[in-house]
Symmetry: C2
Subunit: 168 residues, 2 copies
DNA sequence: TATTGTTATACTCTATAACTATA
DNA sequence: TATAGTTATAGAGTATAACAATA
């Protein structure tokens, strides 16, 4: 069995199995997008919002406090102008409102309205229900392990990528 | 402590912790995109290809056999026209070539050229090296668990979402 | 008539650039 | 002069629609 005639096409590596993780992440991402999971959940919540707008509403819900545009952008890992437009869409639908920032008149604080809070809760409940169904037969240990490992993976990957920025 | 006055804003659920998985997947996806990991790996491979084109090349490498346009699209979970354009780009760069499908003159088979195979291998090696670094201090058990759980999650989520299509 | 692929077009999400107002 | 936000524009990635060739 010579190297060039057979064997798996993967280059030699002590951790080649790790590469299997990447296609899985891609698969999951594609499945969520193509399955329109968030769209179904927004429908179930009686809303007509796209994913980015829902992301803003969820960021506010998670923060459980009014946030500035820039703060929302940081938490969502997107740029400011993107958040500006999503907030405008949410405002039009009466799901968030702006309140003046007492300490800085350049900025305003965004907070969900009563309707916005309820919508976000319905959305989360719907998503959670779906997710619980999908993982209905998972042992609790596996659920815990998945959360733990995925959290660590996200942190390690984020940290490693941040090094690129430092080096440049 | 009344329900409306305090407590976490998350609705009651026996598996509320599972919801933590979704932000992590989002975070990972965003980190890979914003860290331009694939772009760095293609640079390291001496290429000038965007992510979709690289995806086609990887699909061919993984298959280790010539594939039809439709087969590539299925594996990448995208539509045909998208693959058509990526293959055209790869053809121009001499990384793939078309060979006639002896059984069906409507279709052609796509296979990597020598240069394409080498480029894909350099890409994978680069990505693998980076990934191994990021997870350098992970115990082998955790690596195995992550791969196993992520695979199962992807399969379960995909299966569950497929039920929507069936129901409609 | 059904299927494979191509061309042309549109849509979603996010980024960059230029600008305004306040600090 | 630096920072927060907005407006306008651009780009990446992928989908849909209309069509051609072959089955």
């Amino acid at each position: 069995m010579t190297p060039e005639s057979s064997g798996p096409p993967v280059p030699e590596s002590p951790h080649a199995d790790l590469l299997a993780v990447l296609p899985r992440l891609t698969q999951l991402s594609a499945a969520f997008t193509k399955g329109r999971l968030t769209e179904r959940a927004t429908d179930a919540a009686g809303l007509a919002l796209d994913r980015p707008a829902m992301g803003v509403l969820l960021a506010l819900r998670t923060a459980d406090a009014p946030l500035r545009i820039g703060e929302i952008a940081d938490r969502m890992q997107v740029v400011g102008p993107h958040v500006t437009r999503q907030v405008q869409a949410l405002e039009k639908r009466g799901l968030v409102r702006r309140v003046a920032d007492p300490h800085d008149r350049r900025a305003s604080l965004i907070e969900p309205t009563e309707a916005g809070t309820e919508a976000a809760n319905r959305y989360v409940t719907s998503l959670l229900g779906w997710f619980a169904e999908a993982l209905a037969d998972w042992p609790q240990q596996d659920r815990d392990d998945l959360t733990r490992l995925l959290t660590r993976l996200a942190d390690d990957v984020t940290a490693r990528l941040a090094r690129f920025d430092t080096e440049e």
